[in-house]
């Protein structure tokens, strides 16, 4: 790869960890295309993502999505400098499709391949320039690399809060190409999964997030109080002596509490106050997510927070995160929604960072890893 290519490499990214087949193409930090084919509609009648259905859809969507992405970006495979693919974490069978496709692309084109961590890629979109060609959306003063102003211009003290149907995590990013730490995560359901399950309990359909968010606006969040998982002192401990789950979340107890609440109304023969339950549930989720995230930021010197994942679309989550971040002196960045949900552009964006940082490619012998840790940015 010559030096111009290393300054602004043309990278194609492939994502297939859940129900979106994504192919994105970036040049350095410039987004050329973000093409996504979703199997979400096929999961509606099941009330949640069915891994086998998602995997079947990835197989059929991959080549058409690739073709569309190349056309939209106006580039050919011969122009590409490197390929990047999500190799984990995610659904094993779904990951397998993207990884095998990416390896075949690498064999057929002879281009280097990077096996990338999906969670870190969610942070990578924060490095893409805005549509008007301006700087990447991080508002804070970025750390400039004089040798290569494009590369890794992340703010110092950066954290990321990722909330989606597949994950709920708080990360600390010291260096996006090699030093990422998991501060906390859900120990059972992801937040988005809890939304889907509760939406089903309340008969609101799938996906649950938008349905509950909409209905919650008409309900009284204070009418019922639902538990905040892992908030008791035995789990929290203190800043000096942290408990076992100080920055972790749990949503399975909350789901059970909602089910019990609905049953009690029904047993008494009363109308179930669906809007109030939706509002109270949403408040419980958003309250515990934001309070623990902000706590983790304060105690780890994080002053810049990126909010990513599909649940970043939730109005109440955005509102409360903004509010709590600003009172804690944390600057919050929320990328455009199309880049928050799972997509190939984020994989390409992180791939470009790896190329620019001179990280060696992964080769084609790696295995997808459905529980890939964030400490592994690329395999």
């Amino acid at each position: 790869m010559n030096s111009t290519q290393q300054d602004r490499p043309l990278v194609l990214g492939i994502e297939s960890s859940c129900d979106e087949t994504g192919v994105g193409i970036v040049r350095g930090t410039q987004l050329l295309t973000n093409t996504v084919s979703s199997s979400m509609d096929e999961h509606v009648r099941f009330g949640g993502v069915i891994p086998e259905i998602a995997s079947r859809a990835h197989l059929d969507a991959f080549v058409p999505t690739l073709r569309e992405a190349l056309a939209e970006a106006g580039v050919t495979l011969a122009d590409i400098d490197a390929i990047a693919v999500t190799s984990g974490p995610g659904l094993a069978g779904a990951l397998m499709v993207g990884v095998c496709a990416a390896k075949a692309l690498a064999v057929a084109t002879g281009k280097p391949l990077y096996a990338i961590n999906h969670l870190v890629a969610h942070v990578g979109v924060g490095l893409l320039q805005t549509d008007d060609g301006g700087r990447h959306p991080f508002a804070g003063a970025p750390r400039e690399n004089p040798q290569n102003p494009q590369a890794n211009a992340l703010p110092e003290n950066l954290g990321a809060l990722l909330v989606s149907g597949g994950h709920t995590e708080i990360l600390r990013i010291r260096n996006i190409t090699g030093d990422v730490e998991l501060l906390g995560s859900t120990i059972d359901d992801a937040a988005g999964e809890a939304y889907d399950k509760v939406a089903r309990l309340l008969g609101l359909g799938y996906p649950g997030g938008p349905a509950i968010d909409r209905l919650a606006r008409t309900g009284n969040a204070k009418a019922i109080r639902f538990p905040r998982g892992l908030s008791q002192p035995k789990y929290m401990g203190t800043a000096e002596e942290p408990g076992p789950h100080r920055y972790d979340w749990s949503f399975s107890g909350l789901k059970t509490a909602v089910a019990r609440c609905v049953e009690q109304f029904e047993a008494r023969g009363e109308t179930v106050p669906v809007a109030d339950i939706a509002a109270a549930f949403q408040e419980a989720v958003v309250d515990i997510i934001t309070s623990k995230a902000v706590l983790a930021c304060r105690e780890n010197g994080i002053t810049e927070l990126l909010l990513g994942g599909g649940v970043a679309a939730n109005s109440r989550l955005r509102q409360l995160t903004e509010q709590r971040c600003s009172s804690a002196g944390i600057r919050l960045t929320v990328p455009p929604l199309a880049l928050c949900t799972d997509n190939g552009a984020m994989v390409a964006a992180l791939g470009a960072q790896l190329v620019m940082a001179g990280v060696a490619p992964s080769g084609i012998g790696f295995a997808p890893d459905s529980s890939m840790p964030v400490t592994t940015v690329s395999a």
Partner: protein, 223 residues
């Protein structure tokens, strides 16, 4: 005509076959195990081409086994084949994976005129198909592929790893009791059928089973 054949319906395998070569064989590989497709397939194909001193530009068509076989493994080969065919801009054909073993049966010494090929479908079932042989002809698929219990198979000699697993209830042919579908035979079968002017399948996977997903029933109301 140079064909790259891929099959991952059981083990992971790939082969380069050509009608310009004795026995059609340019190169081939197959794994022993049925669980490492994602790791070994692409490096295996890359090595096949390198060892033969060939590149993608030399390949005229890609052939993929379309199953039946365990889903995740099966897809790894099909998506690889689809992607290679797309990038190289060459035709892609599908072949039923059990055909690979059927061709080997036809080439063996005392093949029965009518027989079953069976592979492991897990969950105590087999994937199977029924074939007929007449001398000098390619094996003819009479029935299948199906998925079901070995004990329910027609009363015919059974070839393949599915027979070996259930030798207590089927007429397993000993020399074939561990045999898995492999790309080499599949590629040879494809060459022969194309030469005979036959049409091949497209690359649609033969899953034979639904996704297992249950549509949740209405929630029970508390009374």
């Amino acid at each position: 005509m140079l064909i790259l054949a891929i099959d991952t319906s059981a083990v992971a395998s790939a082969a380069l076959v050509s009608d310009d070569t004795p026995e059609s064989l340019v190169g081939s590989f197959a794994t022993e195990d049925t669980r490492s497709h994602a790791e070994v397939l692409a490096p295996g194909i890359e090595a096949l081409l390198a060892e033969a001193g060939l590149s993608g530009a030399d390949v005229d068509a890609v052939v993929t086994g379309v199953g039946p076989g365990p889903f995740t493994g099966l897809r790894s080969g099909i998506v690889t084949a689809r992607t290679l065919s797309f990038v190289w801009g060459i035709p892609l054909y599908g072949l039923m994976s059990l055909d690979a073993i059927a061709l080997e049966v036809a080439e063996s010494t005392d093949a029965a005129p009518e027989f079953i090929v069976a592979t492991d479908a897990r969950r105590k079932e087999v994937y199977w198909a029924r074939y007929a042989l007449s001398s000098g002809q390619l094996p003819q698929l009479l029935d299948g592929p199906h998925v079901g219990f070995a004990a329910d198979l027609p009363d015919l000699p059974v070839y393949g790893a599915g027979a070996g697993l259930y030798a207590d209830v089927v007429k397993a042919v000993p020399e074939f009791r561990d045999r898995q579908p492999e790309a080499l035979s599949l590629g040879q079968f494809a060459l022969a059928r194309l030469a005979a002017g036959e049409r091949l399948l497209d690359s649609t996977p033969l899953y034979l089973r639904e996704s297992d997903a249950q549509v949740p029933g209405p929630r029970k109301r508390a009374l």
